[in-house]
């Protein structure tokens, strides 16, 4: 399909706040994104109803959905589970990309879609727990892309390439059940579900502040075993333009920034697959 035919559903809920930047990212690359409130998919507001099946990609953007009450992403996950579970499962089974950024990643983990080891689960398999610093971390992050090919939507990203994207979260520490850390790590590697890891400018797996939250094995993003549901804590839509990079005034470089490839790759995948 042509790129301008690619309909991207950028899902909103009270408290999401990165939908405009996310829509802009897809629109600037020639796709046809739309902000869609969850209620437009699960209820039938006159003239405003939308069907998830009409879209080729679904993005859960960043923010503080439902005030992050209970836990970050937990209420969003419950609302998806109660109202959209069947549509969402069909969407995923078709191989369409589902992308969670920051709060959206938290929601996909709470939903049991990520990491989805051994399939989707009713209770979460992981947690994006409170940062080790106990506060909101807003800083540039460097992400090494380590997927070996499982993740179709990000296939354009070079293996071991570094992508710069800002982190902005309080709950981003990728955590798995105690005592199962090595087993989960091994399973993620074996199924090629690892996407991004935090590194320092030398490319090594550094601690704070390069790992802004204390994440297990510096994990910043993962995908499901099929590779079409993916999530990451940092915000690639916030490095879409070169002028959003922290060194822009010194570099003098113009045009797109590191984030472009993230969105470009998703769109390329969709145009080739559907």
């Amino acid at each position: 399909m042509n790129r301008d035919d690619v309909r991207v559903c950028v899902l909103t809920l009270e408290g999401t706040n990165c939908e405009d930047e996310t829509v802009h990212a897809f629109a600037s690359l020639g796709a046809n994104p739309e902000k869609v409130h969850l209620n437009q998919l699960v209820r039938d507001p006159p003239g405003r109803h939308r069907a998830l099946e009409d879209y080729q990609a679904l993005v859960l953007p960043g923010g503080f959905s439902s005030g992050d009450y209970v836990r970050a992403g937990a209420i969003w996950a419950s609302r998806l589970r109660s109202g959209l579970r069947r549509d969402l499962r069909a969407f995923v089974e078709e191989g369409k990309p589902v992308v969670g950024i920051c709060n959206g990643f938290q929601a996909l983990v709470e939903l049991g879609f990520l990491p989805g080891l051994g399939g989707e689960t009713d209770v979460p398999q992981a947690s994006l727990a409170t940062n080790d610093s106990a506060h909101y971390e807003c800083r540039p992050s460097l992400l090494r892309y380590e997927n070996r090919g499982r993740c179709g939507p990000l296939a354009l990203l070079p293996r071991d390439g570094i992508l710069q994207a800002p982190s902005a979260h309080t709950e981003g520490k990728f955590t798995v059940p105690q005592g199962e850390e090595e087993a989960v790590w091994g399973a993620l590697l074996e199924a090629d579900q690892l996407l991004f890891r935090y590194v320092d400018p030398e490319g090594t797996y550094a601690g704070y502040p390069w790992n802004p939250n204390g994440s297990l094995y510096n994990i910043a993003g993962v995908c499901n075993p099929e590779g079409n549901v993916l999530g990451l804590m940092p915000h690639p839509e916030r490095s879409l333009s070169r002028y959003l990079h922290p060194d822009w005034t010194r570099s003098g470089e113009e045009g797109y920034g590191d984030g472009r490839l993230f969105f470009d790759s998703i769109l390329t995948y969709v145009t080739e697959a559907f």
Binding site: A74, R81, E110, A129, A134
Partner: protein, 88 residues
Amino acid sequence: MITARVEVRLKHGVADPEGDNTLKALNLLGFEQVSAVRSIQTFEVDLKTEDEARAREDLEAMCRRLLANPVIHDYSFEVIPREALEAR
């Protein structure tokens, strides 16, 4: 109606930055005898039923499906006796 109190706490060994920071602040305020602080979330839930066994089943499911993340949390709940509620 049944009213229950649900407590959600971090599992032993899971980092509790909120508790640790509160400990630090209390120590700085001069409460030097404070040696640990643990953050715990509490919810009070009203259930439109008189069937306590059923209520307990539902509370268990509520904890698993929303109130706690079993990866990092332990949870417990208790039904609050009617006298305690009336004395409020």
